[in-house]
């Protein structure tokens, strides 16, 4: 408070000494304290149970009742466990159809635990001492002697070890401790990989390779000691059947995987890159000439792996021809090279060129022109 206000204080402070013994009260305003004083703990008010044995007895019975509920619930848990089958369902209000065993076990376990918990708390609140206890605090700081003692011990230790006088030991120890973890780290990092430094696997998909052409015996045909291959067909996911162009009617959507994906060593690792969505739309709606060229009469195939963080771009809205990724709502326009029209992704979904073979099946003459899926450092 400033002097200014002090001067304006009236001559007759009218604070009366109230019955709780406030330290405010002073008749002499010149010596009115600058702050109120802590009045100390208020007088203790006893509970009913402290004075009335009947009330205390009642509390005792309540606590015992809660503990009894717990015991009963525990027994009921055992009974429910033994009596209710794993597959039984029960219809409950609000919750609807629920797993009967789970509900019975959960509720009885809860009652068993709550009985103990509430009983103990009720006991503490009604019967145990409720007079507050005051414990003194002491500063965290150690006494000066203790601190001096600590310094003496540490510097004595340094002295005794002669570490400061023998720099050779000091620096070699530092060096040894500095690098001792390297072998452990090397083993761990070296063993976790493999690291593929060329990130070839992130840049390619199964569409870049072909499947062996089989000869009449069902064996791979060889020419000049090499297996002859042909481009992979588009297969339905998950049944793995080839798709004819004639199957792809206007407005239909196919989830596609490359032919032979289950014959690879790690099909999941291939699926996560090679998944494709095949969409048939009106050719005149397609704005991009390249997109039209790479498709067939408005049937176009795009990578189904989001260019944001790699979720499947699974939601196709036919009327707006938008593809939406359910993870972070990146939206791609199928009519315009699958460019991003909203959301956190930056790059369009790569298009897969498709052609139709002599048997009427769709195939991809070559893989994607750019890496699919999320961005990575070496993508460039």
């Amino acid at each position: 408070m400033t002097d200014d206000t002090d001067a304006s204080i009236p001559k007759e402070p009218a604070v009366s000494q109230d019955e709780s013994g406030s330290a405010v009260a002073t008749r002499d305003e010149q010596h009115a304290p600058a702050h109120f004083e802590n009045p100390g703990l208020p007088p203790h008010v006893h509970r009913l149970g402290d004075t009335d044995p009947a009330a205390a007895k009642r509390s005792e019975r309540q606590v015992a009742a809660l503990f009894t509920i717990s015991m009963v619930a525990t027994v009921l848990f055992v009974i429910a466990y033994a009596m209710i089958g794993k597959d039984a369902d029960v219809i409950l209000p609000i919750l609807g159809k629920v797993h009967a065993l789970n509900v019975a076990l959960g509720v009885t376990l809860a009652l068993s635990l709550l009985g103990i918990g509430l009983g103990a708390i009720h006991w503490a609140k009604t019967l145990m001492p409720d007079e507050e206890v005051v414990e003194e605090r002491h500063p965290m700081r150690s006494s000066d002697e203790a601190r001096a003692g600590f310094v003496a011990v540490m510097s004595g230790g340094a002295e005794g070890s002669q570490i400061n006088r023998r720099p050779l030991i000091k620096y070699t120890l530092g060096g040894a401790l500095g690098i001792f973890a390297v072998p452990l780290g090397l083993q761990l990092i070296g063993g976790l990989g493999p690291i593929r430094g060329d990130v070839h696997d992130l840049k390619t998909t199964l569409w870049d390779t072909g499947v062996p052409v089989l000869n009449a015996d069902g064996k791979p045909e060889m020419r000049d000691g090499k297996v002859v291959t042909r481009p992979r067909r588009l297969m339905r996911d998950p049944d793995g059947t080839a798709i004819r162009l004639s199957d792809v009617t206007l407005g239909s959507v196919f989830h596609v995987l490359p032919e032979g994906i289950n014959d690879t060593p790690e099909p999941s690792n291939e699926k996560v890159k090679a998944a494709v969505i095949l969409i048939a739309m009106q050719e005149n709606l397609i704005k991009s000439a390249r997109e039209r060229d790479w498709g067939l009469n408005g049937v176009v195939a795009f990578s189904k792996i989001c260019t944001h963080v790699g979720c499947s771009v699974g939601l196709y809205e036919q009327t707006t021809h938008h593809l939406l990724c359910p993870c972070h709502q990146s939206t791609f326009d199928v009519a315009d090279d699958c460019k991003v029209i909203f959301g956190p992704a930056k790059r369009p979904l790569p298009q897969l060129q498709i052609e139709v073979d002599d048997d009427g099946y769709l195939y991809a003459p070559h893989g994607f022109e750019q890496p699919v899926g999320p961005s990575f450092w070496e993508r460039g």
């Binding site: 635990l113 909203f342 990575f376």
Partner: protein, 598 residues
């Protein structure tokens, strides 16, 4: 209650309890319990330490139970998690489901997923344990967050508790990571999508992103290694770290002794409450059972993460409405709000800031900000004292405003994580929602800061008003001359103390920038910055009522009382209608006898 009545109550209470004490300590040997205790003490000398611990005093307040809930949830997680390991198979090996859940019969899936369905469907009570584990993980992180709010808004992070604040932050982060890894283990479609997204996050790290991904996944995504590795991290590495840090956290609470709210009898040098034995042992022990019981009740009644409905992870499949568990929501929300143009190519390398900011940088940055906040505030206030009395949030308007702004920022990110759900439920355009959140993320925290700070100042004014004017009793009195006024009842010393026991720091003055020779002093710029920040923190301040002000209010009625402590802003409030007409001595401090408090 009269003094005599109280005395009688006292003696009766003692008499009632005297019964209880008779059997135990009166028996010199202490019976079989005493014998065991004696045996242990002779070998450990622990009687002194344990009796010290058992006498330790803990103050009572509901907000102190938030951290307790976190502690108990951790124990529930350890118990239920141990159960789950007996049936869970942490393997990505392919298997065909042959269990009793019909819709999945014959479906190809990983052993991790199959064993999780087995726990849920074929192990009796397995579903309950799984749901207890998942629910208590959710409750664990909620209670940690609420506990952090309590600690922040009451200033419990101040000296000497800065270290414990940082340990708590680490615990919060580990809890989130532990939760994410835990719900990824079943290898179901939803969590598999989460791991897929996580791999996308890792790939966005400059220079080492692809390497980290290869190391973690043992080659390409998803590979065969991620589930077993996550399992080890989830059941061994992180729990060990969590328990270690948690132990340190609790030991420091013991060493510091618990903080307490200001109140009569409570000072910075004492702690007022109940001793561990028997009251706190019963209350806190009982509360563990209550937390466990409520968790079991929820787990019994409310389904969580029904992985059998999602099906096994299949890289080409996805479900609409893919949300992570709630605590990862804010990071996912950030990813939804960050615009795509933040990704660019430079030097033939890809910089994906649209992913990196939300998924890689945000959590470390937020945690760093939270970690340095106590030190910033200490620097601003220049305060080097120990603080054991908590602040009422209203008495620190700037801190409370900053905290609420941070929560708003977090809340908008969290809401943004549900932008698709909001769009569907409210039939709104997802683009509009996202754009709105983008703007709100910047604007709303500023608005909230301003509003909350003003609210705090208003509440402080209301406190002063209450203290200076007393409570409005609603009783009208008529004077002999026929004038009416409302009787105001003065607060008693205990009620008053709650409202005045705080310090309102003043903004730091600026020392002269040059010394007596007119030369720039060293560090003058730093001091200027400090003075500026201090001014920002404390320029709007309201001081606790002093006895002089109260006296003035009593003496002069409403003419000189200062609701604001700034003398220049002193109000001459005509708040109470006719009261001032008849003079303060009638209006204050003289409630009718039957109104007096007991």
């Amino acid at each position: 209650m009269t003094a005599v009545g109280q005395e009688r109550a006292h003696s009766t209470a003692d008499a009632l309890r005297a019964d209880d004490k008779k059997d135990a300590p009166a028996n010199k040997d202490g019976g079989p319990v005493g014998a065991v205790a004696s045996w242990v003490d002779e070998r450990t000398g622990s009687a002194k330490g344990i009796s010290y611990l058992m006498k330790k005093v803990f103050p009572d307040h509901w907000s102190f139970m938030l951290g307790e809930i976190a502690m108990y949830s951790l124990i529930i997680l350890l118990i239920s998690g141990t159960f789950l390991t007996f049936w869970f198979v942490p393997s990505m090996g392919e298997t065909t489901y042959t269990g009793s859940y019909v819709p999945l019969k014959g479906v190809q899936m990983s052993e991790a997923f199959a064993s999780t369905v087995h726990i849920s469907m074929d192990v009796k009570g397995g579903l309950l344990i799984r749901q207890i584990h998942h629910w208590s993980a959710l409750i664990f992180v909620v209670s940690i967050a609420l506990h952090m709010f309590r600690v922040f808004f009451t200033g419990a992070f101040r000296k000497p508790r800065e270290i414990n604040w940082i340990i708590g932050l680490l615990l919060a982060m580990l809890a989130m990571v532990e939760g994410f890894i835990g719900y990824s283990l079943p290898d179901d479609l939803l969590s598999g999508t989460g791991i897929r997204a996580m791999q996308g996050f890792i790939l966005s790290i400059p220079v080492i992103g692809t390497y980290v991904s290869y190391l973690l996944f043992g080659g390409g995504f998803p590979g065969q290694d991620i589930i077993p590795r996550f399992f080890t991290i989830h059941v061994l590495l992180l729990p060990a770290a969590l328990i270690g840090l948690f132990t340190a956290h609790i030991i420091l609470v013991m060493v510091h002794k618990h903080t307490q709210y200001p109140g009569p009898g409570r000072t910075n040098k004492n702690v007022v409450g109940f001793p561990m034995m028997p009251v706190y042992a019963a209350k806190a022990g009982g509360f563990f059972f209550v937390v466990f019981g409520v968790t079991a009740l929820i787990a019994g009644l409310v389904s969580i993460n029904p992985i059998w409905m999602y099906g096994p992870y299949e890289p080409t499949m996805i479900t609409a409405g893919s949300q992570p568990d709630w605590y990862m929501g804010f990071a996912d929300g950030a990813l939804r709000l960050l615009p795509g143009f933040l990704e660019f190519n430079l030097f033939h390398r890809t910089w994906s800031f649209n992913i990196m900011i939300g998924a890689i940088l945000m959590i470390p940055i937020l945690w760093t900000v939270m970690g340095v906040y106590p030190f910033i505030e200490k620097w601003v206030t220049g305060d080097n004292e120990e603080h054991h009395l908590l602040d009422r949030p209203r008495n620190r308007p700037t801190r409370t405003g900053l905290g609420m702004a941070a929560i708003t920022f977090y809340g908008i990110l969290f809401a943004a994580c549900g932008n698709d759900i909001i769009a569907i439920k409210f039939d709104l355009s997802i683009d509009d929602i996202t754009e709105t959140f983008r703007v709100a993320l910047i604007v709303a925290p500023i608005v909230v800061f301003w509003v909350v700070k003003r609210l705090c100042l208003s509440l402080q004014r209301a406190d002063r008003d209450l203290l200076l004017h007393g409570r409005e009793t609603g009783r009208l009195m008529r004077t002999g001359k026929g004038r009416f006024f409302e009787v105001h009842q003065e607060l008693d010393a205990y009620q008053r103390w709650r409202l005045v026991d705080f310090v309102s720091p003043e903004p730091m003055g600026l020392p002269p920038a040059t010394d007596e020779h007119g030369v720039r002093r060293k560090g003058a710029r730093k001091e200027r910055l400090r003075a500026r920040v201090s001014h920002y923190f404390f320029k709007d301040r309201i001081e606790p009522v002093t006895p002089l002000e109260l006296a003035a209010a009593h003496h002069d009625g409403h003419a000189t009382e200062a609701i604001e402590s700034h003398p220049d802003e002193a109000e001459s409030g005509h708040i109470h209608g006719g009261a001032e007409e008849i003079g303060a001595s009638h209006a204050y401090g003289h409630p009718a006898p039957h109104d007096k408090q007991d």
